[in-house]
Structures are given as C-alpha cells and as structure tokens.
Symmetry: C2
Subunit: 213 residues, 2 copies
C-alpha cells in the first residue's frame, strides 16, 4: 500500500500523514526503493488510534507521541501503559504549592482518595486535577468536600469495574489489549461526559418548565 492509498483508506490527507511520520506518530513504511515505501494494515490501525486520541481525547500531538511510544514498548505492562495515558490526559495543571488555598484543596483531594481506599500513585498528576476542581467548586461556594464527591467516585468506580475492564481483550495479543485500554480510557471518558450533558439538558428541559412539544 502506498501513501496515497493509505490516505484514501484512512481519510487523512497525505500532507498530514507526512506530518505524522515526521512527528513519529506513525512508523515509517517499509522502504522498497529510494522513492517508494510500503504501508500496511498496521498503519491504518495506528492512524485510527492517533485520530481517536486527537479528535475524541483532544490530546496534543506531543502527548500522543508519548502514549504511542508506551504502546509500542514491549517491555511495559498494562499498568504502565495506562499510567502513560493518564499522564497525557492530565495536562497543564501546574500546582501552586505556595498558595495556602491550593494546599487545602490538594489535601482534600488526597484525603478523598485515601478514604476511598484507592491505590493511586502519590505523584499522579490526576491528584492535582482533582484539587483544581475542588478549589474551583470551593471558590464558587459549591459543595466540594470528600462527602459531596463520593457519589461521583462511586459511580465512576462502578462503571470502570462493571463495564470497562470487561471490554479489554486480555486473551489476544498484547498490542490489541494495550490499544483497547488506551482508547477505552479516552473514549469512555467522553461518552460519560457527553451523556452527563445530555442528561442535564433533559432534566433541565423538564425542571425549568419548557412546554412539552
């Protein structure tokens, strides 16, 4: 398969494919001569993975590169690859350790995690993300204690355990499992977010009294 066919098959324009090759998001095709390279089904799969992380997960290219490197590293186990994806998904929340308010929010986040009995890396950036959300709720005078967030934690845990773990093909090759894990993380996150907003709209329509059509 040449680059033009890869482009046609994936829907990604040739210049963009070239760009992904340069950026290391896509492995080079197999060189058959100085001006010809052969691409395969693996490249189509890889492009799908990249587009899913980009369009659904909204990850920046640099993060996608890291995730892909982890996916391709045969030495890494499932947990390590998932960790890489989580790091990529929790960006740009730089902690303000000098700020008193921030430290309180971060302590609240850590306390919630401890109370739930969850096993979370002490250095996980997700902790900072949670702290940021708690701080924001707090500043706007909305309930943001561990108690108030428990229903969210319970629902999240339930969905992960009951639904998401089961969709990972653990009996197949490592690559398939790892890809499903990474994409599942990203896409299920969006599914839940979208459905929550839809639920909100529906409830709002009834609650705030828009007449039934």
């Amino acid at each position: 398969m040449r680059i033009s066919q890869l482009s046609a098959a994936s829907g990604v324009p040739i210049p963009t494919i070239k760009y992904y090759l340069r950026e290391g998001l896509l492995p080079p095709g197999e060189q058959t001569s100085a001006t010809r390279a052969e691409y395969g089904a693996g490249h189509i799969r890889r492009l799908r993975l990249v587009r899913a992380l980009l369009e659904v997960g909204r990850l920046p290219i640099a993060s996608i590169r890291k995730v892909i490197a982890a996916v391709d590293d045969e030495n890494l186990g499932m947990h390590e690859v998932l960790g890489t994806a989580h790091y990529a998904l929790a960006p740009a929340v730089e902690a303000h350790d000098d700020d008193e308010e921030w430290r309180r929010a971060r302590a609240e986040a850590d306390r919630l995690i401890t109370d739930l009995g969850w096993r979370i890396d002490p250095g996980a950036p997700t902790r900072d993300e949670l702290a940021q959300a708690i701080l924001t709720l707090d500043r706007l005078g909305m309930p943001a204690t561990g108690e108030a967030l428990r229903p969210y934690a319970a629902a999240a845990l339930d969905l992960v355990v009951e639904h998401e773990i089961g969709t990972i093909p653990l009996d197949g090759p490592r690559e398939a499992a790892v890809e499903a894990l990474v994409v599942g993380t990203v896409v299920h996150g969006r599914v839940l977010d979208v459905l929550r907003r839809l639920a909100q709209e529906s409830v709002s329509a009834r609650f705030f009294g828009v007449p039934e059509s």
Copy 2:
C-alpha cells in the same frame, strides 16, 4: 478598586485583564476620570467565572464570551443559558453527513436518546459528539450499541438528578443561579472525569498485579 488591586485580588496579571476587557469577557470598570476606572466585587466574581471556564472547562475565549453574554442576558431563562453552555462545550465535531458510517453512528446516538426518553433538542451538537464517540468505539471493535452505553446514561442521569440540581441556589438572585448552573456543568464534568481516571488507575493497579507497597 483600581486595576492593579483587581489583579492582586484575582491573581490575574494586568495585561491579561486588559485583554479580557478588550475581548468583552469582563465589563469595563466605572469611569471616574479619563485615566481612572473603578472595579468592584462583581469583577472579581466575573474573573473567577472566566478562569473556571478557561482552566477547568478548557473553553476557548470565543466560547466563553458567548456563555457570558447568555449569563448577562436577563431575558434568558435557566434552560436557555444552560443550552448556550452546552453548545460551547460541544465544539468542533463537524458532522460528515456524506459518510455512511457516520450516519449509522448518528442514528444509533439518536436511538439511544429516544429509548432513554430524554428530551433533547433535535439540533443539539451533543448528539454529534455522542455519534463521534460511538463511531470511534465501533471502529475499534468495542461495544458501542445503545445497550452497552446504558449503564453510563443511567449513572449520568442519577448524578445529575440526585446531586447537581440540588446545588443550584434557585431561591437567590438570577445571576447566582445562572452562574452556578454554568460553572456546575463544567466543573462537575471534570470532577467525574478525573474520578473515573482515578478509579481506573486504582483498579488497574490491583488487576494487573502491581505488588502492594
């Protein structure tokens, strides 16, 4: 309160405040002379709202402007303002109506919404977001039927009804209610997303056999 104090009180640099004024995210201060304007507590609240939408909700400035215009429009009811926020949160998913696969995914999304009995605007962009997620799951061979997504919908609805509706101060002034509604949408979304990823990490740590510390 002059601009330097507003900056100190909010933590937002003066040039950025000026930028927000230019962009219409922040109403101008009350002019007291040609080179002096007075800012008040409302400006601090408004800055908090903007930063929450920006940092937690990751909305682009242009979308924030629209949301704020809706918040400030006294003629709009709660449901309309929420709708504006939802439009702002569901960006950039342009529908490919020409694509057969896309139409199937979109039909599946619409069917799920109908089956759930939810009242959703037929033109809501959230429908396209859901279709995009379903299409992505589908292409990667993961379960993406309405059946498979029902647990997510149920959990989302439960959280919205049991928890989020209650945090909106309906007895106070319109502005407070509307702000809580908008910020709540954005921040609760992130809370749920973050907690889901934390639950995932915890489950993964146990499931994929990282030794207990």
